[in-house]
């Protein structure tokens, strides 16, 4: 990954840090250059001051050829036993018109009458400089690649020059002081860095974090699952804040669109199921009419065995229920239904009893309804059978199924409870949708049909798990005040 492709999370603190370090180095560097220049200027100034004083006192001594007096004067600025100070001269000496040493602070290195050219170091260059230069004025000589700085002052009075005073400074002597200044500067720089770098890091993170989150969110936007970015991530109204607002708007739009699509898909699926069911109902309805007609004929013939008559009645009510169920699916065909009687509930009991016995599940049947209830019998039978079939399937052997039916406040209340395991969360959420089955082999239409039926009757159905029971409760409004 190229450096410029790196995350802003790194780039902002890095660039900021680099800029701060560069500034600190540049400022410190400039300070050091300035300090060095000042040091040099100070040296030259103090040197010239010392030189002028010395020249004044040296003049009579040199004029009278009092070499020892001149030597004592010239040696005075040197403090014996003290380490060399930056502003103190390394050597002070006087040369005559022929550039020979008249007196020097270091006679061993610069013996009396020695020509300046023979003194080594950069003195030959100085000799050339002095020969060419104006020796009646103060001057400063500094040669390339030389560690020395020379200040020359004429030893003269009333235009009579007896010699030229040379004060030589070693630039090495600046270094300790320069280093101490530089060290101080570096310390200040480090302090500034120590303060600014964490601030920069914090600021960089603050700047980068929302941008990074936004970029991530924008990436997800394309995939259709935009993350919710909390408003607290960036609470300001600047350009970045506006970007955030725009992102949130876009994300909200996308989520609404996705929900709408989901809903449409659901509706389409339901419509398809409806058409299928209508087709099946139509096919079932024709033979059903024939069967009901046959039963009617049988009844009109009269004088039937009572057992046969009971079975025929049972058959008729069952077929009637089928006709009503199918009729419900056939939106266009309105089937005239009869009101619910206690017999209908007994029928359901009779129909389901064998299955319960087979599964070794006990029935607890508590019916407290009037002889006749103003509600279509077929729908109630269908609802009850569906719920009971589910309950029988869901209850393990030895369990119990409790059925309660009652009326009150103008409603028929049904409750089917079984001691089975609670419904899994995933199943419960989509319990009343088609093709959702809680058990293997189920087609998942039972509860959906039940739900559609209840809804059609203007009632409510709910499922919950309480006191070790899975409980389905249905509440249906009664027609008129037949109750």
């Amino acid at each position: 990954m190229r450096i410029f492709d790196r995350s802003l999370r790194h780039k902002i603190p890095l660039w900021g840090g680099a800029l701060i370090v560069a500034s600190a180095v540049a400022v410190s560097g400039a300070q050091m250059v300035r300090a060095y220049a000042d040091l040099k200027r100070d040296t030259i100034n103090s040197s010239e001051g010392l030189g002028h004083t010395l020249a004044k006192t040296l003049f009579p001594a040199l004029l009278h050829d009092d070499a020892w007096r001149a030597f004592e004067l010239i040696r005075a600025p040197f403090h014996e036993g003290r380490p060399e100070q930056p502003l103190e001269a390394r050597a002070i000496f006087v040369v005559d018109a022929d550039l020979r040493v008249l007196v020097s602070s270091a006679p061993r290195a610069m013996p009396l009458l020695a020509p300046l050219d023979t003194l080594g170091a950069d003195y030959p260059q100085l000799a050339t400089g002095l020969r060419l230069g104006n020796r009646d004025a103060t001057a400063t000589y500094e040669f390339a690649d030389s560690g020395f700085l020379h200040v020359t002052i004429p030893v003269a009075e009333d235009g009579a020059r007896v010699g030229t005073l040379v004060i030589t400074h070693s630039k090495d002597a600046f270094l300790p002081r320069f280093f101490s200044i530089a060290l101080g500067g570096a310390g200040m720089g480090a302090l500034v860095l120590a303060i600014l770098l964490p601030i920069n890091w914090y600021w960089g993170r603050r700047m980068a974090e929302p941008l990074v989150e936004l970029a991530k969110g924008m990436g997800d936007l394309g995939k259709g699952q935009p993350a919710e970015l909390p408003a607290s991530l960036y609470a300001y109204r600047d350009e970045l804040g506006q970007l955030y607002e725009a992102y949130r708007d876009a994300a909200r739009g996308l989520r609404e669109k996705a929900a709408l699509e989901q809903e449409m898909l659901q509706s389409e699926r339901l419509a398809a199921v409806g058409r299928l069911a209508a087709g099946i109902a139509h096919e079932v309805n024709n033979p059903l009419g024939g069967m009901l007609m046959a039963l009617d004929n049988l009844k009109q013939r009269g004088r039937m065995d009572p057992a046969v008559a009971k079975t025929a009645a049972l058959l008729e009510r069952g077929l009637q229920q089928v006709a009503e169920t199918v009729g419900a699916l056939l939106v266009e065909a309105r089937v005239v239904s009869r009101p619910l009687t206690r017999h209908d509930l007994d029928d359901v009991h009779t129909l389901l009893e064998p299955q319960a016995v087979k599964k070794q599940v006990g029935f607890d049947w508590q019916i407290r309804v009037p002889e006749q209830v103003g509600i279509p019998a077929g729908f109630v039978r269908q609802i009850l059978i569906n719920l009971l079939l589910n309950a029988v399937h869901a209850t393990e052997s030895g369990g119990r199924i409790r059925v309660e039916a009652g009326t009150g406040e103008g409603r028929l209340l049904l409750c089917v409870a079984n001691t089975g395991a609670p419904l899994p969360e995933a199943v419960r959420e989509h319990l009343f949708e088609p093709f959702v089955s809680g058990r293997e082999g189920g087609h998942g239409l039972g509860l959906w049909v039940t739900y559609q039926t209840v809804t059609q009757l203007g009632g409510q159905i709910a499922a919950d798990w309480r006191d070790g029971e899975v409980r389905f409760t249905v509440s249906l409004p009664l027609e008129g005040d037949a109750a």
């Binding site: 070499a67 020892w68 030597f71 006679p107 061993r108 013996p111 009396l112 009458l113």
Partner: protein, 298 residues
């Protein structure tokens, strides 16, 4: 160096006396002064020169107090940095006594009388040492110093000026041109410093000053090396102005000669690096006279 000033009253009084007594003979005025001055406040003035290590101030103060207690008069030391100044003071009659180098002593001729001669290592003699820098291994004598930078101590010094010049003359050379460069340091001690620092290649030093310096400042003499020792000459003497009364002459001579006999005196002699004083004889300076004659100065 802080020159000890004359008490203001004394100076003014003397100025007045000099003004009115201009015609009086030099010999007469101390008596006149004695007549006007009570004995108790009389002051003997002694000139000191670089003939010895004269800038040991506490030693000078102790010695002065010693002399005052023994003499019963005030004593004033007048140190000067060149012989010429002390000679001028003697000429002007502003000193009663002086510790001089033998060259100025002889130069002043009748103006001064020999009072006492210090004993150096038991004898009233000293020498001139020829010294070079300790690291300068080549020269072994004056003959090797042609073209050198030479430090003289004082133009009226015997061992520091007359002796080396006489030596050069003995070599058949002209002392004025023999050296490349010469200069005066105005004291033997500074002449040693000149050689030690490299300012001069060589110098001639009073052996007594050298030996004393070796004791009190060995780090200085250690940077130099003796390459030649001259013959013995009479030690720099204590001289009395010819105007000094016989009584004062005898008094100071007695105190000086008696220093070795009491505890304080012995202690002072030890600090002066001397063994005592003797009355001495002018003949011990005959060799100096010979050298001075060679330069036409006697």
């Amino acid at each position: 160096m802080t020159p000890i000033a004359l008490p203001a009253g004394n100076r003014r009084r003397r100025q007045i006396l000099q003004a009115i007594g201009a015609g009086l003979a030099a010999a007469a005025w101390p008596a006149a002064r004695g007549a006007t001055d009570p004995a108790a406040s009389r002051t003997l003035r002694i000139g000191l020169t670089p003939a010895f290590v004269h800038d040991q101030h506490s030693l000078m103060a102790d010695w002065r107090r010693y002399l005052e207690s023994r003499l019963g008069t005030n004593v004033e030391f007048l140190p000067r940095n060149s012989y010429r100044e002390t000679m001028d003071l003697l000429h002007q009659g502003r000193l009663d006594f002086a510790w001089l180098c033998d060259y100025p002593f002889l130069y002043l001729k009748d103006l001064v009388r020999l009072l006492a001669v210090p004993l150096n290592q038991g004898r009233p003699y000293y020498r001139s040492y020829l010294i070079v820098g300790a690291e300068n291994a080549r020269p072994t004598g004056m003959a090797d110093l042609k073209g050198a930078v030479f430090a003289y101590s004082d133009p009226y010094s015997n061992t520091g000026y007359l002796v080396p010049r006489y030596h050069v003359r003995q070599l058949g050379e002209n002392p004025t041109t023999y050296f490349r460069k010469t200069f005066f340091t105005w004291s033997h001690r500074k002449a040693v410093e000149a050689v030690a620092t490299g300012m001069a290649d060589a110098a001639a030093i009073d052996s007594f000053v050298w030996d004393t310096l070796t004791r009190v400042k060995p780090e200085l003499t250690g940077r130099t090396r003796i390459i030649d020792r001259s013959p013995e000459y009479g030690f720099p003497p204590f001289a009395a102005h010819r105007a000094v009364s016989a009584k004062d002459f005898a008094a100071l001579q007695g105190v000086l000669l008696g220093m070795g006999r009491d505890e304080d005196g012995r202690h002072l002699l030890e600090r002066l690096n001397l063994d005592g004083f003797v009355a001495g004889d002018r003949s011990i300076y005959d060799k100096v006279v010979t050298m001075m004659r060679a330069f036409g100065e006697y």
